[in-house]
Amino acid sequence: MRVSDEGHCRQCLEVSADASMDEITQAYHRLKRIYQDDLAPFSAPSMDEFSEEARGEVLNQIETAYRELCGILATTQPQAHPAPPPTLNASLPVDGAALRKIREAEGLTLDFIAAQTHVRQEYLQAFEEERFADLPHAAVNVRGFLSAYVAEMGLPVDAIVRGYMARYQQWQARQRK
């Protein structure tokens, strides 16, 4: 298949007709990430449709569509500079402010999470504001409460808690000095 016009290119990159250059770039990197990895969880290697050849063809189409769109949009949107793609992993480690943002985006209130996890709302708030002094004194409790909070939001517990606890422990070390 030859990707010829803007509509086709947008369809190939799975973006809407009014998607900006930034959104197009993000979609391009996401699709590349998806189709480059033959061990990706969405893949079904047993099926002919997922052959290396088929994936290669799709990657070519994505590449062509992106190049052409860049060319088309450079004339109509000269100010656009493709931004680096945000990946989910790149946003880790997640700090308190990020947790709060995610919680609010999910439409979850602190008292709801408190009710679900049985962690006091004051602690949840202290987590989000990274007020380490207001957290429980024992690190084991801090870790347990934080894990419950992160799990409740359906986020990867291990990675987030590890990063958060590292900051907490640095703070503890500073307190001891």
Partner: protein, 300 residues
């Protein structure tokens, strides 16, 4: 009236959950909704509705010739009614084609804004046919290799089914079998080649197959999301359906896993209602809205 079908191939991915969630939310939006448990081999939509012992079932429709109106059950959710599945019958899973056709004729005459068909697992012909019959096709997948593989197979078989029905209508079935049998002589390697050959052979087939294919447009729902990063599987699967299977698919969203859900079954209350499994409820609402929006855009 809109007929929705919820399918997806593998068992246990959450087809009944999604069907119920869609129905619940549409009813709360003020629509008249009827859920039909067309999972002939493993009906359980009544349990989602919080009806432990349904007083009626599809058996009465099939065996006693009762009209569907008379086996409709009210649920505890205003505007949501249920036609319970096929139990206490001797032949739960071997209905005849005529019986099924009769059922669908009657479903089309139901008085409701939305009728939601909860399909069984697998890729049996009647499951595929029911899915293709619906105006709103919802396919459920989970973020693991077992579910995705079966999910693709389900969609692939839908296409084969469309191909075969176009061939049967035009009396080309035997011709096509012969072509496939001697495919090397005709330079045919894949189904795609076969279709191209048949298209060149018969313009009538080409038109009919195009029309059949237009009937397949699916909304993808990702269920059982335990970790946030799994949400990308939904986007990826939808993309693969478009790019590898050439089936128009839109991603409707994901549903977070609820480890406590099992506790809500077998009680007298609907499983998905206010106060129970808040995250899941919220996700199901988002998905319903997203599908309604996509459908409206397609019409407009």
């Amino acid at each position: 009236m809109h007929i929705w079908a919820v399918g997806g191939g593998k068992g246990g991915t959450g087809k009944s959950l999604v069907a119920n969630g869609l129905g619940t939310h549409l009813a709360e939006r003020g629509f008249k909704v009827i859920l039909v448990d067309t999972d002939f081999g493993g009906p359980n939509q009544h349990t989602y509705c919080g009806i432990r012992k349904p007083s009626t079932s599809l058996v009465q429709f099939f065996e006693d010739r009762k009209p569907l109106d008379e086996i409709l059950l009210k649920t505890k959710i205003d505007g949501l009614r249920l036609i319970p599945g096929n139990f206490n019958s001797q032949n739960t899973d071997c209905l005849t084609v005529t019986q099924k056709q009769k059922l669908f004729r009657h479903i089309k005459n139901l008085q409701a804004d939305h009728v939601i068909l909860d399909l069984g697992a697998g890729t049996q012909y009647d499951t595929l046919d029911t899915f293709l019959l619906a105006d709103v096709q919802v396919a459920v997948v989970a973020p693991d290799a077992l579910a995705t593989e079966n999910f693709y197979l389900f969609l692939k078989n839908l296409k084969y089914r469309q191909l075969n029905s176009a061939l049967s209508t035009l009396g080309l079935r035997d011709r096509s079998r012969e072509l496939w049998k001697h495919r090397t002589e005709f330079g045919i390697a894949t189904t795609k080649d076969l279709v191209a050959y048949l298209r060149a052979l018969s313009a009538e087939f080409s038109d009919l197959f195009d029309r059949e294919q237009q009937k397949l447009k699916t909304h993808v729902v990702l269920n059982q999301v335990r970790e946030y990063r799994q949400t990308e599987v939904g986007v990826a699967v939808t993309s693969a359906v478009n790019k590898f299977f050439h089936i128009p698919a839109t991603y409707a969203g994901h549903i977070r896993y609820d480890k406590d859900l099992w506790q809500h079954f077998g009680q007298d209350t609907p499983v998905i209602h206010q106060g129970v499994s808040f995250n899941m409820r919220q996700d199901l609402e988002k998905i319903t809205e997203s599908i309604l929006k996509a459908q409206a855009m397609e019409v407009g």
